[in-house]
C-alpha cells in the first residue's frame, strides 16, 4: 500500500532508493522528451492561452456555485432514473458504495480508473467487506496486482518495465509470458479482464465531468474499459469529486478539448462517453440499469471557499505537472506524491490526506515554474506549494531554526551584510587561491553535497567596490539602476563589473543604490512570507524607481520575484502600489536591455565565433517570459550559439533546494551538463548567477574544459575596446 515518508530522514532514504532505479529514470526521461513534442503538435493552431483562460475562468465561476450546480445535476440525473448521493467524507463515500453493493446482492465488481476512488482508498474497504474488486484499466490492474498505488495520475504503471509486467502476468495466469512482447501482454490482460467484465455484478467508474444542465456524466478513456464497466454489470456506481461539476455541455467540451492534449499529447482519447440516467440493461431485473452517482466532498467545499487555495480545485487531473517536473523525472511518482502526484499532489495531499503525508514531500519543489507553465487551468502550483509548506509550519507551531535565523537576519540589511562580510573573512583558509572555490565544503555539509564545487564569497563585495567603480557619463542616453541581488553582490561581483563596462561603453549612466537588500525570494522559498514582504518594502524604498529609466537585473530569479512575487506580497500595502508599479514597469533583464533598448550592433563586438551553449534560467524563460533576446544577443556579439537539448529545463539549483535535496539536484545538473557536452560547446552561458554557481560548480567537479559564464561577462569579453 501507499507509504509516504512523514519525516525528512525517511524521505531522504526513499529518495536515495528511487535515484538508484535506472529504469525509472530512463522511462520518465523518454516520456518527458516525447511529451513535449506531442503536446506542442496537439495544440498546433489552437490559441492555448485563450483556451486556458476561458477554462480557468469557467472553473472559478462554477466553484462559486458548486452547491447549486450539484442540485441541478441531481434533479436532472434523478429525473432520468439515477439516484444521486453526496458524501461528506471519504469514509462516508466508501460506506455508501459498499451499502449499494450489499443492498443489490453484489459479489463481484469491476472498476474503471478513478483517481477519486484512489483518494478514498475505496478498494481497501470493499475488499474488507468481502467484495471481489477488479481494476480494469491495464495500468491500474497491474498496480492492483502489485498492491501499490499509481505513480502517475494518467499512466499509473509508468514506473514498471515490460519484464516486471510480464513476470507478474505469468505469475497471475500461471502461464509463460514472453517478457519482450508488450502486444501479447496487452492481449493477456484483454482475455483475463474480459472474464471479469462478463461476470461482474457491479461496475464502478469515476467521471471527468458532471454536466449540471442535464445531469450527464462525461467519462474519457482510451482502452474502452470505462464503456464496458458502465454497460455490462447491472449496477453502475460513479464516484465523482464535486469539482467535476460544470454548468453545461459547452464547458464540458472545452475541457475535453484541452485534457487529452495536455495529458499525453493525444488530440482526443479513443472514447468519450456521456451517460444520462438509467439506460437499458438486460442484466437487470427491471431492464433498466441501477445507476448511483456518489459525489465526494472530502474538503472540496471548504477548499472552494479558500481565498488562496481555491484555484487548486480547478485541477482537471491531466498529470501534465508531473510530465514536466524535473524532480518527478528523477524520482517518480511514488516519491513525489501520496495518492495525488506531482505538483498538484504536493498541494492536494495536505487537504485530502493530511499534513503528516504532506510534510516531507511538500519541500520537494525547485520552484522552476515548469508545472505552472503547462497547467491547463492556470494554477500557480509553485506558489501554492510554498503556501502549503507555510501552513504546515503554522500547524506544527514550531519552525526550523534556519527559518527563525533567516528571518531575523534578512529583515536587518546591515546585520545581513555584516555577517556576509565576516563570513568572507572567515572562509579565507578554505579558499583555493587560483580558482576561488572552496577547497572543501564546510563540515555542516555531508558527502552528498560534493557534486559541485562552491565558490568562495568575494573578497570585496560589489557594493564596497562601487564608489570607486562608479562611472560618470556626460549626457547619458539612459539612467539605469542595477538591482544586484545577494549572489552578484557578495559572490560574483565580476558580473556587475562586466555590466558597468558595457553600460559605460554605450553611454548609459548606471547607479547602484546601496540601500538595496536581498530580493526576498529565499525567504519565500522557506515560506517566510512576512519577512519577504518586509524586504520587498525595503527594496522599494531603496531603489527609488522614479529616478531611473530602467531597473536592470542580472539575476532572473530576483527579477521574476520582484515582477510577480512582489505584487502578491504587497497586495495589502496600498501605500506601496505606486512605487511597485514603477518598479515593475521599469524592471528589465540584461539581455532584453541590450537587444531591445540599446540595440547593440555586431560591429561593436569581436566576432570570435566561440561555440556557445545556452542555459535558459527558469525564472527568465518562464518567470519573465524572456526567451529570444539572450539567444539573439549571443549571435550579435559574435558567438556561435549551439542549441542543446532541454535548454529550458531547470539546472537543479533552486536556491536552498540544492542544499535540502543534494542528490536530486546533482542528478538534474548531471543531465544538463551532459546535454551541453553533447552540443560540443566551449562555453556555457546563462543569465542568472544562481544557475552560474550550480553549472560552474558541476563543470569544475567534472574537470571539464567548458567554461561557464554569465551572459554579461561574455558580452563584455567580446566588446571591442575603443
Amino acid at each position: 500500500m501507499i507509504q509516504t515518508a512523514k519525516d525528512m530522514k525517511t524521505y531522504r532514504k526513499k529518495i536515495k532508493a528511487a535515484l538508484k532505479n535506472k529504469f525509472l529514470r530512463k522511462a520518465l526521461d523518454n516520456f518527458a522528451s516525447a511529451y513535449k513534442v506531442s503536446r506542442a503538435k496537439a495544440f498546433e493552431g489552437i490559441d492555448l492561452d485563450a483556451l486556458k483562460d476561458e477554462i480557468a475562468q469557467g472553473k472559478d465561476e462554477a466553484l462559486t456555485q458548486i452547491e447549486s450546480l450539484f442540485l441541478r445535476f441531481k434533479a436532472g440525473a434523478e429525473a432520468a432514473g439515477a439516484i444521486v448521493h453526496l458524501a461528506k467524507t471519504a469514509e462516508e463515500a466508501n460506506e455508501i458504495i459498499a451499502k449499494i453493493g450489499k443492498d443489490n446482492g453484489v459479489k463481484t465488481m469491476v472498476k474503471s480508473k478513478s483517481m477519486t476512488a484512489e483518494e478514498t482508498h475505496l478498494n481497501d474497504l470493499l475488499e474488507a467487506r468481502g467484495f471481489t474488486v477488479t481494476e480494469t484499466d491495464l495500468g491500474e490492474w497491474i498496480i492492483q496486482l502489485r498492491h501499490e498505488g499509481p505513480s502517475h495520475m494518467v499512466m499509473p504503471a509508468i514506473h514498471l518495465s515490460r519484464w516486471q509486467v510480464g513476470t507478474l502476468f505469468s505469475d497471475v495466469t500461471k502461464k509463460p509470458v514472453d517478457l519482450e512482447d508488450i502486444d501479447r501482454m496487452v492481449k493477456v490482460a484483454r482475455k483475463e479482464l474480459r472474464l471479469a467484465f462478463l461476470t461482474a455484478d457491479m461496475g464502478i467508474s469515476g467521471a471527468n465531468l458532471a454536466i449540471a444542465e442535464t445531469g450527464t456524466l462525461g467519462i474519457i478513456s482510451n482502452e474502452g474499459n470505462a464503456r464496458l464497466t458502465t454497460t455490462l454489470p447491472r449496477v453502475h456506481v460513479a464516484l465523482v469529486g464535486l469539482e467535476k461539476l460544470v454548468p453545461d455541455l459547452a464547458a464540458a467540451l472545452r475541457i475535453i478539448k484541452i485534457l487529452p492534449k495536455n495529458a499525453t499529447g493525444q488530440a482526443l482519447t479513443s472514447y468519450v462517453t456521456w451517460i444520462t440516467g438509467a439506460v437499458e440493461c438486460g442484466a437487470s431485473a427491471t431492464g433498466k440499469k441501477i445507476l448511483r452517482i456518489v459525489f465526494l466532498d472530502n474538503g472540496r467545499l471548504e477548499l472552494a471557499r479558500d481565498p488562496v487555495f481555491s484555484e487548486a480545485i480547478r485541477c482537471i487531473r491531466c498529470g501534465a505537472c508531473s510530465n514536466v517536473c524535473p524532480v518527478y523525472g528523477k524520482v517518480g511518482g511514488h516519491t513525489l506524491g501520496h495518492v495525488y502526484i506531482g505538483a498538484i499532489g504536493l498541494i492536494l495531499t495536505y487537504f485530502y490526506h493530511g499534513k503528516d503525508n504532506a510534510r516531507a514531500i511538500v519541500k520537494n519543489c525547485l520552484n522552476c515554474q515548469a508545472c505552472k507553465s503547462v497547467c491547463p487551468v492556470n494554477i500557480d502550483l509553485p506558489f501554492l506549494i510554498k503556501k502549503v509548506y507555510a501552513n504546515i509550519l503554522k500547524d506544527e507551531g514550531k519552525k526550523p531554526a534556519k527559518n527563525t535565523v533567516l528571518s531575523a537576519v534578512m529583515k536587518n540589511r546591515r546585520l545581513f551584510h555584516t555577517l556576509l562580510r565576516m563570513a568572507s573573512a572567515l572562509q579565507k583558509p578554505l579558499v583555493q587561491k587560483d580558482t576561488g572555490v572552496l577547497r572543501h565544503l564546510p563540515f555542516i555539509f555531508g558527502k552528498s553535497h560534493d557534486f559541485r564545487t562552491l565558490p568562495a564569497l568575494a573578497k570585496t563585495p560589489f557594493r564596497d567596490q562601487w564608489p570607486a567603480l562608479r562611472p560618470r557619463i556626460q549626457n547619458p542616453r539612459f539612467r539605469v539602476a542595477l538591482f544586484g541581488g545577494c549572489v552578484v553582490d557578495f559572490v560574483s561581483p565580476e558580473q556587475a563589473i562586466a555590466l558597468v563596462r558595457l553600460l559605460s561603453a554605450h553611454k548609459v549612466q548606471m547607479e547602484y543604490p546601496l540601500g538595496q537588500s536581498c530580493c526576498g525570494l529565499p525567504a519565500m522559498m522557506m515560506a517566510e512570507e512576512e519577512t519577504a514582504a518586509e524586504v520587498a518594502v525595503q527594496n522599494l524604498e531603496a531603489l527609488e524607481p522614479w529616478r531611473y529609466d530602467y531597473i536592470l537585473v542580472l539575476c532572473a530569479s530576483c527579477g521574476s520575484h520582484m515582477k510577480e512575487g512582489y505584487s502578491r506580497l504587497l497586495a495589502g500595502k496600498p501605500k506601496q502600489a505606486g512605487k511597485l508599479h514603477q518598479l515593475q514597469d521599469k524592471l528589465m533583464d540584461f539581455s532584453s536591455f541590450m537587444v531591445n533598448v540599446l540595440k547593440v550592433k555586431p560591429e561593436d563586438f569581436i566576432q570570435n565565433q566561440r561555440r556557445t551553449a545556452y542555459h535558459s534560467p527558469c525564472h527568465l524563460c518562464r518567470g519573465l517570459g524572456v526567451t529570444q533576446e539572450p539567444r539573439e544577443l549571443l549571435r550579435t556579439v559574435g558567438l556561435d550559439y549551439a542549441p542543446c537539448k532541454d535548454e529550458d529545463v531547470c539546472c537543479g539549483f533552486g536556491g536552498s533546494y540544492s542544499l535540502e535535496f543534494p542528490e536530486i539536484s546533482a542528478e538534474i545538473l548531471g543531465q544538463k551538463l551532459d546535454h551541453v557536452e553533447a552540443a560540443g560547446a566551449e562555453v556555457l552561458v546563462t543569465d542568472c548567477p544562481g544557475c552560474v554557481l550550480q553549472l560552474r560548480g558541476g563543470m569544475n567537479k567534472r574537470n571539464s574544459r567548458i567554461q561557464v559564464r554569465h551572459i554579461a561577462e561574455i558580452v563584455a569579453d567580446n566588446l571591442k575596446t575603443p
Binding site: 522511462a27 429525473a79 499512466m155 502486444d183 478539448k257 499525453t264 488530440a267 482526443l268 451517460i275
Partner: protein, 181 residues
C-alpha cells in the same frame, strides 16, 4: 464537404482507423462480409440496420458461411467478430465518430466485437464537437441516454508507453463514408 472528408480521413487515419469511401449500402454490406472473412471471423452483429439491409446482409452472409447474430446480443457476449453499425455523426477535427448508443445491443456490439465497422453519409461530417452541441444537448435532455464519441480503436500505452491497440474494445475501427449518389 471535400475538405471535411479529407480532414476526417487524415485525423481518423492518425489514430489507426481505416477510412474508406463507398457509394452505396450494398457496398457497405459487401465490405462487412469481406473484412469478416479476411480476418477469419464467423459472425456479424448489425444492430439498428434497416430491415431491407439486414435481409440483404443475411443473404450475403449465408453465401459466405457467416452468421448474422440475432439480438439480444447479451446472449453472444463472447462471440461477436464484427459489429456493423451506422454512426450518427463524424467530427473532422479529431477523426471522431458520434453514436447514440442508447440501445444496449448497439453498445454491446461496438464494445465487445473484434472489429467495428461504422458507416455514415458524408453529409453527416461536421467540423468540430461544438457544431453538434444542439443535437447532443437535446439527446441529453430527453431522458436516460448513452452517447459515445469513438476515435480510433481501443488503445493503451500503459506498459512502457508502447502503443498497443485492442486492449478492451475493438482491435480495429473501419469508417465507411458514403457518398450520396
Amino acid at each position: 464537404m471535400e475538405e471535411l472528408m479529407d480532414q476526417m480521413k487524415e485525423k481518423a487515419g492518425l489514430v489507426q482507423a481505416v477510412v474508406s469511401i463507398v457509394s452505396s449500402m450494398e457496398e457497405v454490406l459487401h465490405r462487412a462480409v469481406d473484412i469478416t472473412l479476411g480476418q477469419g471471423g464467423k459472425t456479424i452483429a448489425a444492430p439498428g440496420l434497416a430491415p431491407e439491409s439486414l435481409k440483404r446482409l443475411e443473404d450475403l452472409c449465408k453465401a459466405a458461411r457467416l452468421t448474422v447474430l440475432s439480438p439480444p446480443f447479451r446472449s453472444h457476449l463472447s462471440g461477436i467478430h464484427t459489429a456493423l453499425t451506422h454512426a450518427d455523426w463524424a467530427i473532422a477535427e479529431t477523426g471522431t465518430l458520434v453514436l447514440d448508443s442508447n440501445s444496449e445491443d448497439l453498445r454491446i456490439a461496438t464494445m465487445l466485437s473484434e472489429t467495428h465497422m461504422a458507416f455514415l453519409p458524408v453529409s453527416r461530417i461536421v467540423p468540430d464537437a461544438p457544431a453538434l452541441s444542439a443535437w447532443l444537448v437535446e439527446k441529453m435532455k430527453s431522458g436516460a441516454g448513452y452517447l459515445s464519441f469513438i476515435t480510433g480503436a481501443s488503445r493503451t500505452a500503459d506498459i512502457e508507453l508502447v502503443l498497443a491497440t485492442g486492449v478492451h474494445g475493438p482491435q480495429e475501427l473501419h469508417i465507411l463514408m458514403m457518398e450520396e449518389t
